[in-house]
């Protein structure tokens, strides 16, 4: 049984590929050379001030947009208004699934204040966020697929007039069978919600196998098999989506919108309106929160754009709160089965994971979401053999998509709760069980994810120590408990949504004799502080204060493309691009100043708004004067920087989801009070440690962690995007159970526990100054930590999320002291793609005759696919 006896321990340790840290002499030049002029990270991770000190990185500082936000001057999309502006409202389907037979708009069009009525007939071309599922129409043409699916739009002089005219539109529907959940979807081949899925109402089913699972389970002393369920929930950004479209003075279509992804909205407009992309400008206004909910192109964005094109007048549409709930694109409800083999000492021998996703009515990010439910299990603990099968079904509900932690949150819940069960059964401390098999740094996982720096051990040790875990876990009085869980998340996706060789992020700098710097980038500020990250990079490299920097972001006209604020990519990717741009500006200034001061260039330091001789600090120029010298020397000053992630060693089909330049890690201990009579849960303390690589601005970093903990607690305790059938005497329609902020429960000030945050800073050369993501990772351990703390408090296992008092009560009342979902249903899985793990000599390719997209991309770039065979190093 034991492979340790014969000395052949399988797992990531067998593969070791030392990577060169960015701090090494070449500053990442080798990596850049391999990738041409586009940066792939690996700059010097040290400070750019004299002696390698930091100018602004790591210092607590007011964010660059802080004053505007505290004075009400930030202009969100709905704050914009234009002369002659018209308003738009969408008429939405009252049926979850129906054929649209006829839409009669004649009466509405005659309303005196109505300027235009649009229907599906005006929009022949589909759109969607992923090229593989362009399955949305701005207004439904033949079929409505969920309650709230828009069928017509009214553009009028006021919102009141829109509402009045909408009541005059007559829509004839032929109601179809409603498919309300994945089990029904699997059992119902007809009617199909879409015809682009794999079969019936299955959108996507995937099966991947890394190594011989039978062998893995044969090596185990014990096999654990558990079912878990994670209910869907929604982002609930406080700002309701809003879009204003207008033609500018040159007739260019301009859309101002609450969007996290202006670049993809630009693409959607180009496609769905059949326009030249050069005639479109998209401006992402600062978002009043996004969390993934503003990452898709939305119906109203396309509709107002079309209306503005037709009418030549500005048109605005702002969704009401109920509509925001019906737009959704939030957390998928996911059922899971984890089969895990372990040895007596807790060593994992194999994991076999199945997931079943309720995708809702459209593709959205669903293909990626499906792969994400199986992608990141391997990056925390060594799993020598791993199998993943995932299936996403279409149902007649608002489409699910990416929410903070995109697709990785649900299986992380299952994995971390199961590890707690395993530890308990084997009599091992849950912290030790994890610590003894943390993935080593600079290694490849079974599914060919490249782990570089990993601070997970430090994270676990930090929360264990600070919470008093060793003395208190399992020893607290009845009704009080501690739970531990860990997680990991991407610092940006390794591949773009559109597979191409273009940079993922670009930054442009303009400097002039005024002594200020304008930094522009397509990245969208959604509250996370990306504008501040951009300024911070420039300040650090040029040694100037933030008051000298203006940032222009989210505007497809005024800045280079950045793919958007999703997958925790902006700090790393925009940050690296910004460093490249700023280094180039610094070089230009240094060249000119060196000549002027007759000092060698490499002796010049940039700090405190000055450029000076580091060996004779009195000799130097104020930054503004240095700019004048540089402008005189070079002419007009401007630089650019770009970033593209290094290629991934995964070559198999499906290997495009999961790779990241580097992963962040989190560990959490939660202390909980549970009432054994009622199941009431109260979280008192959260200790969380996050492996962030480098803290760029501690105020903002802390805010991301606490915000993630808060949102995780909402998901863990109360948040649910759930649906109910209206009674038969009405329409039987499937409607949102509580589409309002009052009834969709979220934590308030009064539910927020104490949060004790620790940052683990081990700079990773892939990130700007070593930084990794912080926006999403810290949410992930919260839900499993709560479940594990409930077990410690009252001895019941909650295998589903959210863990409302009713759910906990059910567990307390049950014979087996457990509450969980029904058994995982039978899914007709496709034949697995078999991939040999790296430690068994695998080269990252799957056993399949079809070329994976990565191989296609390689061919396009003229790049060989020998990367892995020759050692797998991209650095």
């Amino acid at each position: 049984m034991s492979s340790e006896k014969d000395g052949k321990k399988k797992g990531p340790r067998a593969f070791h590929d030392p990577v060169v840290r960015g701090a090494s002499g070449d500053g990442g030049a080798a990596a850049n050379k391999a990738e041409g002029e586009i940066s792939t990270g690996w700059h010097d991770v040290g400070g750019r001030g004299p002696g390698g000190q930091f100018n602004s990185i790591g210092k607590a500082r007011r964010r660059v947009d802080g004053r505007a936000k505290a004075t009400g001057l930030t202009q969100y999309a709905d704050d914009l208004s234009r002369p002659r502006m018209l308003y738009c409202r969408l008429l939405r389907s009252p049926h979850p699934h129906a054929k649209v037979i006829k839409v009669d708009t004649a009466k509405a069009a005659h309303h005196p204040d109505v300027k235009l009525v649009l229907t599906g007939a005006d929009f022949p071309v589909t759109y969607g966020i992923l090229p593989v599922s362009m399955d949305e129409h701005p207004l439904a043409r033949d079929l409505v697929r969920h309650v709230g699916d828009p069928v017509a739009a009214v553009i009028a002089r006021s919102e009141d007039a829109c509402e009045a005219a909408m009541r005059l539109i007559e829509v004839e529907y032929e109601v179809l069978e409603t498919i309300s959940n994945p089990v029904e979807a699997l059992a119902t081949d007809e009617p199909r919600i879409h015809d682009h899925g794999m079969w019936g109402n299955v959108h996507k089913a995937v099966s991947l196998q890394f190594g011989d699972l039978d062998e893995g389970f044969a090596e185990a002393d014990q096999i654990f098999e558990h079912d878990f369920f994670f209910e869907g929930n929604t982002h609930m950004p406080l700002e309701q989506h809003s879009s204003l479209a207008e033609l500018d003075r040159n007739g260019v279509l301009t859309l101002h919108s609450s969007t996290q992804t202006p670049h993809y909205v630009h693409k959607a407009l180009t496609r769905a309106l059949e326009m030249d992309s050069a005639r479109i400008r998209v401006v992402a206004c600062p978002n009043g929160g996004g969390f993934g909910g503003k990452s898709d192109p939305f119906n109203h964005e396309l509709v107002v754009a079309k209306a503005a094109l037709i009418l030549g007048r500005p048109v605005k549409c702002t969704l009401n709160r109920e509509e925001v709930f019906y737009c959704h694109r939030g957390r998928h409800p996911v059922q899971m089965r984890f089969k895990t083999g372990v040895k007596k000492d807790g060593t994992l021998t194999a994991v076999d994971l199945q997931t079943l996703l309720d995708g809702g009515a459209f593709g959205s990010y669903g293909v990626a979401s499906t792969f994400y439910t199986g992608a990141l299990q391997t990056v925390t603990y060594e799993i020598p053999r791993y199998a993943f099968r995932g299936c996403r079904t279409f149902t007649n509900k608002p489409a699910c998509g990416p929410k903070r932690g995109h697709g990785t949150v649900q299986p992380r819940f299952g994995q971390e709760v199961q590890l707690d069960i395993i530890a308990h059964e084997l009599g091992i401390d849950p912290a030790d069980l994890r610590l003894q098999q943390v993935v080593p740094p600079d290694s490849l996982t079974a599914n060919f994810l490249k782990v570089r720096s990993i601070g997970l051990k430090n994270c676990i040790e930090a929360v264990v120590e600070k919470s008093g875990w060793r003395d208190r876990h399992g020893k607290l009085p009845e009704g009080r408990g501690l739970g531990l869980a860990c997680s990991s998340y991407l610092s940006g996706a390794g591949l773009p949504i559109y597979w191409n060789q273009l940079p993922h992020s670009g930054v442009q700098l303009k400097l002039d004799r005024s002594g200020h710097v304008v930094a522009s980038c397509g990245a969208a500020e959604i509250g996370q502080g990306s504008d501040d990250v951009l300024a911070n990079m420039v300040c650090e490299v040029l040694g100037i204060g933030a008051d000298r920097v203006r940032v222009i972001t989210g505007d497809t006209d005024l800045g280079p493309v950045d793919l958007g604020s999703y997958s925790s990519r902006v700090t790393l990717m925009m940050g690296n691009a910004a460093i490249q741009a700023a280094e180039r500006a610094r070089d230009m200034i240094a060249t000119a100043v060196a000549k002027k001061l007759e000092v060698s260039k490499d002796r010049l330091a940039f700090a405190d708004d000055r450029v000076f001789d580091v060996e004779d600090p009195e000799t130097g120029l104020p930054f503004a004067e240095a700019c004048i010298v540089a402008e005189s020397f070079h002419g007009t000053l401007g630089t650019v920087g770009s970033y593209k992630p290094p290629p991934s060693p995964a070559r198999f089909k499906g290997g495009g989801v999961g790779p990241s330049p580097t992963y962040s890690y989190s560990a959490c201990v939660m202390e909980t009070e549970v009432c054994p009579e009622t199941g009431w849960v109260n979280v008192t303390d959260v200790w969380i440690a996050h492996d962030i690589g480098r803290v760029l601005n501690p105020v903002l970093a802390r805010g991301q962690v606490e915000g993630g903990v808060y949102m995780g607690l909402g998901e863990a305790m109360m948040e649910e995007q759930v649906f109910r059938r209206l009674p038969n005497k009405y329409s039987k329609a499937l409607v949102h159970r509580h589409p309002s902020l009052l009834e969709y429960k979220t934590p308030t000030f009064l539910e927020m526990p104490k949060v004790h945050t620790t940052f683990i800073e081990e700079p990773d050369g892939a990130g700007p100054f070593g930084a990794k993501e912080v926006g999403q990772g810290p949410l992930l351990p919260i839900m499993p930590a709560l479940s594990n703390s409930i077990f410690d408090a009252v001895g019941v296992r909650v295998m589903q999320c959210p863990m409302s008092p009713q759910t906990v009560f059910k567990a307390l009342q049950s014979k087996d002291k457990m509450v969980g979902p029904k058994p995982f249903p039978d899914v007709p899985w496709p034949e697995p793609t078999k991939v040999t793990p790296p430690w068994e000599g695998g080269d990252g390719r799957g056993e399949s005759t079809k070329k994976s997209f990565v191989e296609k991309m390689d061919a396009e770039a003229g790049r060989g696919s020998e990367t892995v065979a020759s050692g797998g190093s991209n650095s």
């Binding site: 004053r67 505290a70 969100y76 709160r321 902020l741």
Partner: protein, 169 residues
């Protein structure tokens, strides 16, 4: 809809305004659409989130649930009036900007005004009192803790200011 408009005289941020508005116009609509004071936000228009809170005669009120006609003869304060006619910010604004009280900023106006009413009526509120006072305001970004830090900081600044005023004990 077709009812004749009302002509209202409103005192907003210490200035008198005359507006012509439908009788059912809410204070939120009048502020944002007629007076172009878009610093006041809306998250639900149903009185559930607190984003639209403004001060009416010094007390926080949800402008989405208040008819403009009810505010005649009363004094309305919005985020735009918090700093007065000064480029120097109110201590609450300073603290929110500096201490992470604001991320996306959409709830910030409502929070600052609600907090302002609290600190004007209570010199030394405890953290629990602050949390209680703000518990009707939803924030999706911060997790609330940095908001509490910001209000506590502002309370301290205001306290120090009072002590340094001439005539203070």
């Amino acid at each position: 809809m077709s009812q004749p408009p009302l002509h209202l005289k409103l005192r907003v941020n210490d200035e008198e305004h005359h507006v012509s508005t439908p009788p059912h116009a809410t204070l939120l609509e009048t502020l944002r659409e007629d007076l172009e004071l878009t610093g006041t936000k809306h998250g639900c228009e149903l009185g559930e989130c607190g984003a639209c809170a403004v001060l009416v005669d010094g007390s926080p009120l949800l402008s989405c649930l208040t008819l403009s006609r009810e505010c005649e003869g009363k004094s309305v304060e919005t985020i735009e009036g918090v700093a007065g006619d000064s480029s120097e910010l109110h201590p609450l604004q300073e603290a929110f900007a500096d201490l992470g009280g604001s991320q996306c900023g959409y709830c910030t106006s409502g929070l600052i005004l609600t907090a302002k009413s609290l600190v004007e009526n209570n010199d030394d509120p405890s953290r629990a009192t602050i949390a209680e006072a703000l518990s009707g305001n939803i924030c999706r970004c911060t997790g609330y803790l940095q908001v509490l830090d910001a209000v506590e900081k502002a309370v301290q600044v205001l306290k120090d200011r009072r002590l340094s005023e001439p005539g203070a004990a």
